[in-house]
Symmetry: C2
Subunit: 353 residues, 2 copies
């Protein structure tokens, strides 16, 4: 993986790909800014790219079928590669298609959002959503190359930048306490894309994730380390399913999920109440939501979380915090505490304390 400013505009960055049969999947927002230089540097014609509408709602089984139809019509051979130019939606969808096209071809990630650069382009998880939940269909498929151009974040809407920051905060919370402290000091400088603060946040997040993935590439069911990366995600996925992937960004749902995981950890007595408040304060500073969507009830959460992939042996497992910088996966918690957390975040008057 290469991280740097201006990589997409640098012909040398594409050297490993030149001369190979290639296709590019992207979305209309990203294409407007970056498709032309990518195609030019790879000497590809315009019809080597498929441009989807933007948004999480594109990440469907039916769309994967359409992408595969397009790759087959183009007769991309097994020694070809599919490039994912965009954010997490494009990366996950292209990754899944690369995983199953002719039983697997090479995948190249060109992440253009903070979320994709720190999280979804790293680790090999690919997939599509289903009406019953997020990422319920997919595959593990590692990219053969990742080029993370931090310049692309300059065209990112502030809301998407904040969504990416949620994954940075997540990494800090689950395994990098010093990063959490640094974010408390200078989160605004990361969000302003100041090179040093931004570079540190991305590199530390990616390093942590890569270390965890290396220890447990396929997310083993019996307590492997990889499940820790789902901190905040079980709550977050429920929100995304409830809102039909249409109104909340993934990172926004994760931001709320981090607050809920910290709150539950505090109610269980595992985390100091003040630390849970620090989590919620940082999430709020990032501009992320800290209460459930209007109308969503504790019962909605319970129903949607019961369909989560992390349910094993009929018991809901959650990633919770033992301290800032230390997470654990457990099904062994008091359901009454979970109920209290759900009530708290669904209450109409719920506010950051």
């Amino acid at each position: 993986m290469r991280i740097g400013a201006g990589l997409l505009a640098d012909p040398a960055a594409y050297a490993p790909l030149r001369g190979r049969p290639l296709r590019v999947l992207t979305d209309a927002q990203v294409a407007a800014h970056y498709l032309e230089p990518v195609l030019r540097n790879l000497e590809l014609p315009a019809d080597a790219a498929l441009v989807l509408p933007p948004g999480e709602a594109q990440k469907t089984w039916d769309n994967a079928g359409r992408v595969l139809d397009w790759l087959l019509a183009a007769r991309l051979p097994r020694d070809g590669a599919l490039l994912a130019l965009g954010g997490g939606v494009i990366g996950d969808l292209a990754g899944f298609c690369a995983a199953v096209y002719q039983r697997g071809i090479d995948l190249v990630q060109l992440p253009t959002t903070l979320l994709a650069q720190v999280d979804s382009s790293v680790g090999g998880k690919t997939g599509v959503n289903h009406a019953r939940g997020k990422n319920l269909i997919g595959a593990f498929h590692q990219p053969c190359l990742v080029l993370a151009d931090t310049e692309t974040l300059r065209t990112l809407p502030p809301r998407e930048l904040a969504a990416g920051a949620a994954e940075v905060i997540k990494c800090a919370l689950l395994g990098d306490a010093p990063l959490f402290a640094r974010l408390e000091r200078r989160l605004e400088r990361v969000l302003a894309l100041e090179a040093e603060a931004l570079g540190e946040a991305i590199e530390r997040s990616v390093t942590l994730k890569a270390r965890i993935v290396a220890a447990d590439e396929r997310e083993s069911l019996d307590g492997g380390a990889r499940a820790l990366l789902n901190l905040g995600h079980t709550f977050g996925h429920a929100v995304e399913t409830y809102t039909r992937y249409a109104t909340w960004l993934h990172g926004e749902a994760v931001g709320l999920g981090l607050c809920m995981a910290a709150d539950l950890s505090a109610r269980l007595g595992w985390l100091a109440a003040d630390d849970a408040r620090r989590v919620r304060a940082l999430v709020e500073r990032a501009g992320l939501p800290t209460r459930a969507p209007a109308g969503m009830t504790p019962e909605d959460f319970r129903r949607l979380m019961a369909g989560d992939k992390k349910v094993a042996g009929g018991r809901l497992r959650l990633v919770l915090l033992r301290a800032l910088g230390e997470a654990c996966v457990t099904a062994d918690f008091d359901p009454a505490a979970l109920d209290a957390t759900l009530e708290h975040f669904c209450a109409p008057g719920c506010r950051v304390s």
Copy 2:
């Protein structure tokens, strides 16, 4: 993998599965004979099984989506397993669904056709067809358990038994010359399901395939051993695509493909003309077709073979014979010889010589 008579009716055979969340995919023909004992031995209710219509036309992307919808509606957890009770179509479709359901769950193969027992249930290839070709979408996903009950072959239509024999002949041709000689002596006893002849044919085929797969699990592009298992398949897939997976069984197309590969090998001077005739004679004794479908032209073959997965760097690669029992993968052959083979097998008067 266990091979034996009466395994499906033996409660002890299911011991590794008891107590796990399970679902069964099967087809109506197989269900009529074997679904009840399988469900009974696993103590599963009737709605734990999804019964599809029989036939290769079921192996589609859309049907995979339907199976996944059904698994998600049943909330099969990640530590559950999907059982494939049936032939190659059910095994490939269930295998693909198990590979991508929640990024992969356990797969159990209960093959009920000779083709599935000697070939498709072994080696981890899963997938669905596409209008542009066979198995163009799929994944590598090894079963956690295979129970091959040879008793199930007694209810198999003779045409399907012959189709399975094509894969046995293929194994003999590509790597087991003594098996080829034994088949020449007693193919009819295998087809009559005489226990000793049948057991030998299945075990030798499975052993050869397992050895080849172990050396090259994901069919590497640069001349790995696994590609040898495609002997006869590039021709065969063209026939199946041409006939829209509707009229020819996979094994029937492979049978013809074996004759074509042997014929081309002889035209190239790599195989004795008499050996090519022995291949064709054995395929015909199995009751398999030895000429192209009515109306299919050499140009149809060339067009459909160009979309094959084995095309790399723009060149068609074929598995050809150096001798009976010795195959090789090559893109280095005289195209005129291929044209002559195609003309020969497409000629209206084409007959076994």
